[in-house]
Subunit: 193 residues, 2 copies
DNA sequence: GTCTATATGTGGATAGAC
DNA sequence: GTCTATCCACATATAGAC
């Protein structure tokens, strides 16, 4: 368990930043200490162990998703919520191309080691699929069609982020985003919101 | 440079196997030595350094792709070649769900460290896209439509592999594979082969 | 609460016998 | 060519002063 307070938040942020940009292998106490401008030994006041620090970085990805979801839902209309999700991906194109999807690359690293939290991060994708499915249903799709549409949306965005990152070609992201926006627009607004 | 011979091949295979199943972090000299049933020190006769071993594992992924591509092209008909590619993904469903895409997970790990060969592996995706695009063109699509179809096919399969791995839900793979097979079948056979 | 110094453990690499 | 023993660098972790 980590202690509450501002300093703690700074460390969580630094840890997740380092994990995203330099990978789990680069998530060392020395690197985080440097990023947070704090001596290495001090980290042990906030983290029980290095594993605990990894857990904090992982947890932050999930927290971040919950924040975004709330923000998207706050827009009131399903069409806007879904567009906001796709739009965020478009806005982050450069970062995604450089470092990959924050969730996907983390899973790829955690998955290899059965390390703690591997399943947790993966479930963020399931929750994203379910969230999108709910909005597709609101837009008038049948329950089964909405379920498949939600899964497809997340899959498409993830595939695009992976390939953009791997090949350095940001075009993959714009291609799927425009496809998704077109699909959302073309849905009959029988659901009203 | 690694020495030629049977032993060398065994080591390359062991290294790429370990890299896939246990990740780059698990690709240690000790693990490879154990997998190849050979003392640790002996590896240095075949590999200059650990980095060289990583490079060998990475190179093997590219080689494997070239072999498969040749095999698929040997089928003679574009429709069969594309179906074989998608079919392989379907056959590997269990493995992909457990360990993820061999190319994608490797890129996710290499990309974080600017390590040697990161760009090389990523370009396997580009080559896959181009290969698929060529066959879609043969099936009658316009050059631009074929290009987009090739990219989309690889993106869809990669997204499916990622999500199946992350969530443990193999359904993602069957969903895109059936979608892809349907698309291939529905293409007018104006291209004859 | 914060920092320095240091112990411990793991993995990469080399020397040299065989 | 193959193996053992050892060295070295780096990262986690702890002790204890302030």
């Amino acid at each position: 368990m980590s202690v509450r307070g501002n300093k703690s938040d700074v460390l969580w942020k630094a840890a997740s930043q380092v994990a995203y940009e330099r990978g789990l292998a680069g998530l060392t106490l020395a690197n985080v200490a440097e990023a947070a401008k704090m001596p290495l030994g001090s980290l042990y006041y906030y983290f029980k162990s290095r594993d605990d620090m990894v857990g904090a970085a992982v947890a932050r990805v999930h927290t971040r998703f919950l924040q975004l979801r709330e923000q998207w839902d706050g827009l009131g209309e399903s069409r806007l919520s879904l567009r906001a999700f796709a739009g965020m991906t478009a806005e982050q194109t450069e970062t995604l191309t450089r470092h990959g999807c924050p969730i996907g690359t983390l899973v790829a690293q955690l998955g290899k080691k059965q390390q703690a939290g591997a399943g947790d991060v993966g479930q963020v994708f399931s929750q994203l699929c379910d969230w999108a499915a709910g909005h597709f249903a609101t837009l008038g799709l049948s329950p089964e069609a909405a379920r498949l549409a939600g899964r497809k949306m997340v899959r498409d965005l993830e595939g695009a982020a992976m390939l953009a990152h791997a090949t350095g070609d940001a075009g993959h992201i714009s291609e799927v985003v425009s496809e998704i926006l077109h699909q959302i627009d073309s849905l009959a607004d029988s659901g009203a919101n």
